[in-house]
Subunit: 390 residues, 2 copies
Amino acid sequence: MDGAPDAGELTPPDRTLMGPGPSDVHPRVLRAMSTPLVGHLDPAFVEIMDEVQELLRYVFRTDNEWTIPVSGTGTAAMESAVGNLVEPGDTMLVATNGYFGGRMASIAERAGGDIVTVDAPWGEPLDPVDVEAAFDEHQPDVFGFVHAETSTGVRQPDVPELTGIAHAHDAYVIADCVTSFGGVELHVDDWGIDVAYSAAQKCLSAPPGASPLTLNDRAMEKVLSRETEPRSWYLDLSLLEGYWGEDRAYHHTAPITNVYALREALRMAAEEGIENRWERHRDVAGGLKSGLETMGLEMNAADDYWLPSLNAVRVPDGVDDGAVISFLLEEYDIEIAAGLGDLGGEIWRIGCMGHSARPKNVEYLLGALEDALRTEGYDPERTPTPASDD
Amino acid sequence: MDGAPDAGELTPPDRTLMGPGPSDVHPRVLRAMSTPLVGHLDPAFVEIMDEVQELLRYVFRTDNEWTIPVSGTGTAAMESAVGNLVEPGDTMLVATNGYFGGRMASIAERAGGDIVTVDAPWGEPLDPVDVEAAFDEHQPDVFGFVHAETSTGVRQPDVPELTGIAHAHDAYVIADCVTSFGGVELHVDDWGIDVAYSAAQKCLSAPPGASPLTLNDRAMEKVLSRETEPRSWYLDLSLLEGYWGEDRAYHHTAPITNVYALREALRMAAEEGIENRWERHRDVAGGLKSGLETMGLEMNAADDYWLPSLNAVRVPDGVDDGAVISFLLEEYDIEIAAGLGDLGGEIWRIGCMGHSARPKNVEYLLGALEDALRTEGYDPERTPTPASDD
């Protein structure tokens, strides 16, 4: 520690980000981050807070007053949602058909909740019949599921059916929208979702550090009438209400620059129009998907619940998943990711999110992947599966 | 929510930040934030993580292996420190001579700790005699104090004496260094501090969002041998060990751009040299202090424990503190802050931190404040108190 370390100029490599996030950040958003700061209680910042909240509501498709960026990355938003809604003694039903349902469970346990689960294989969505059965058996107070599972590439269909089951049992619904917000069709209000959260670095393409969260009045009433305080002070929504609500009183210092970035990224989503944005993700990721299938690769999720923002592709027999990932990084400066948990070694995860959801990125990736597969001894022509034969 | 909100270009006012943080950010650090992102598991980012950890150790004056940026603003670092170290059943002794000791207590309570306090008036440091007495009476497991109290402008002297008392009682010491790290003399290892944390937007002058934390092996052993899990998953250091330790395995997405900014700000601190940086803060803030005293204003803290980075100045009789703050903001684009808690209405808090600790900022502020005071009916010549008469 005695001598001053001699760190050089910051010169990270110029990557093309096609993994599960972060995605490529648009130059407009990067430029917003170099804006000089104002204080977190400055009247000018309060205006920016209002604008960000309004923009978040637009992308969530909600009128929820309680719509804020949480001062941390996506897991902080998850912990805000679960840790505030779940009280000691509450039972939470969580989905175990992917990695992030398990994370919800860990957080709920630490919040003092009892955990019950509803299962589906990794790579499939929840079946409403199973959810109904779990509700009948356990009568949970809170139900958490993942709308867009980053670990499996599965989009949960039938969301209104799931929320209907929960509400018929007087429970609250928390939806993890980390990989759908801003890129995949999502209607918080129309679908009856009580609490939803996301992250900045996925389909919104802002750097991570301030993470979208929304709660309806019903959920916020539960939070504000808790018998015990939430176990985090930093993420306590009843205290944050003083800062993001009408008072604008000091609670903690907001990550000002991340809020700037979020504003610019949300503004770009508003300019594009949210429906157009969903359509672009479907179109561009559709090109990616058919390119992968033309190479003979198989998607992990069936077409009915394919998740455009996160394409989970099965690793062909005899191919080393890690070698392909390293080859793409080293030879092409492209990031894709390996499988997590149950799917470790079995899939690649290829993101197509936000500013990364461009034909240019897809073409570049497909060419590079073909080269990587050949290098690893796989013949992309071996098992051609044209989309028309499906 | 139906129509897309029409948010304009991001054009916050051009403030001079002389409040309790954020401070002015150097253009080099702003520029670092516009660097395109790499993934949080990219080998290139792992190198950046190593560099940031080494630079943090340099500024903390520590060899602690366990030195990381926490993925949130300063309060998240406080919650990491307190929430991991304090287990249910532990007793924590906290100082109540300022606002942030109270925050430590709130966090420790939520962690399941029992709270005992050691008191001193707001505006005075802790007396080691009182700390010793509190240890004898309560035998606490953990002792938390604030090295540089942002709410009162008091620098705690005698830190080695305090840590000595704690260690003689086999307790762990957590020091809040939010407003000293990188600007005010601090020696984590030599002073026997077990756990220290800070924030980015104070004397380091990086935007808030990634916050320095360091633990020595003794403290980390307590964390790793807890009987119960910490109540936060996001801030659980035993899990973060997998990401910031040797494995570099996924835990949560780090705020990549904030880490870039932290690196550049720390690099500038290393270039300047930490002792030179402490001296600059003393010199520049010394000019501010004598300018304030020349106007007849009185510092809240006695000279022996004056905190250069945060100058708490008493509001003269008959002057409306809020009117002066608004005048400075509206007429001069300068941010200073009001008192908090016990000192609400009684002091102004004028920061002199990092890139804001420049003679240019001090001159500008002094002239503006003189104008503001005259406008509010106070005659700055009324009670001249040259420093030599003290």
